[in-house]
Symmetry: C2
Subunit: 255 residues, 2 copies
Amino acid sequence: MAPDQDRAAGSLYRKVAADLREAITSGGYGDNGRLPAEGALAEQYGVSRGTVRQALAMLRADGLVTSRRGTRRVVLGTARVQSFSELLSFTHWARSMGEEPGGRLESLIRRPADAAEREQLRLEPGTEVYVTLRLRTLSGKPVMVERTVYPPRVGEVVAQLPPDVVSHTEPLREHGILFTDADHTIDVVAANADDARLLGCRRGSPLLREKRRTTDPTGTPVEWSQDRYLPGTVAFSIHNSLASSALSRHAREND
Amino acid sequence: MAPDQDRAAGSLYRKVAADLREAITSGGYGDNGRLPAEGALAEQYGVSRGTVRQALAMLRADGLVTSRRGTRRVVLGTARVQSFSELLSFTHWARSMGEEPGGRLESLIRRPADAAEREQLRLEPGTEVYVTLRLRTLSGKPVMVERTVYPPRVGEVVAQLPPDVVSHTEPLREHGILFTDADHTIDVVAANADDARLLGCRRGSPLLREKRRTTDPTGTPVEWSQDRYLPGTVAFSIHNSLASSALSRHAREND
DNA sequence: TAGTGGTCTAGACCACAGG
DNA sequence: CTGTGGTCTAGACCACTAA
């Protein structure tokens, strides 16, 4: 078991959800099969129906099952949805694919925030921010350029990390800086001179861009980042429904 | 009020959620402000705490509020998240931006499904599918090429629509074909000859691609589509958190 | 310590699917 | 009609935050 999965512990409904997820993804209920009724599951696990429903809501959000009034839940598929930490951390993502993540800090500067940065990070005029430029690699091959702006509290921690540290989210968590919510925007952008030099592509060639603003549980922004990927190295996937949705990032596969 | 929003009707928690959403987005609680306690909201609306929590879970998924044990919920922002129908329907999306959606059916053919299509739509070998190629425009300007594969049950309905019909999801709903779940993948692809001709770009120039498979409440696939957008016309946004996430598509704004 | 959200229970009624 | 998921209630206890 990956250490990530142990987070199922702590609450009952997470344990039930983890167990059901395991049963589903290992084919225990078949594809397009039906799950037992909520009442049956409640009895089977020795919990109330409400707890079972809370567990099933997680699977619903992940696109594993549908639900419709009147009939049993249907197994949609064995969709692989990434955990939140896999989504935010290049390092976790790479490792989950069996690739070796690498990176190089190109620059780290401290300067007053401009208007856009103040807006994104909710900072007072004159506040200084830390700005990093990193090249990210998979098994030695450049795939992404990452530009991140940190507010002072976070930047001070980042600035003291060794320049060759692979993961940033882990040390930050140890400093009590938590990532709980993120807004992402995905589009296409042309490579500028820096992008071209670092990624080894032509200037003006298209890159897949992900802009991301992350906040902690109090709603305070902790990071504003702009990642630019070489085409063909990444795709973003989302499952959504009338009720909920989820995003996942994965290596691109053939058409 | 847009007709879409009337769907808040039907259940209590949706009404509560709609009311709170309105209060938040109109600034009633301020940015980074605090919501009243769950108990207070329950009393205010005359419902149980469980119902209030169900409503708040929706706002949480939309990125409007955070939550943390021990303190009141924090208003994250006034994020505009699109409804599921806006996300699936080009027509709804265009109108929500105040643009005039247009389109032209370039071709509609019926032929046996190939291996990939059978896989995506869960069809038996030899089953025939309907394949459409459409050019989509905003206020007359080409922005997207859409290739959709329908299984027979759905294709038969689509094939009988007038070629210049703007929205397909609406007539389908009237035929009892419901869209409840979708999986999306977003990446970059080079324009082929057809794309270049229809969109008026050079062959090989980059396009933002969204692949989408949609299913109905029983888990049966009803559509497999591949949309290719001109760069600069669209971006995709997602809010996600430790608990949940949502996707929205919107017009690109300046950097 | 007091207030808050997170979790869990037990029971109720309804709307809808399908025989 | 029966069985199912959808909704709602009333109450309980716990873990955590902030004063």
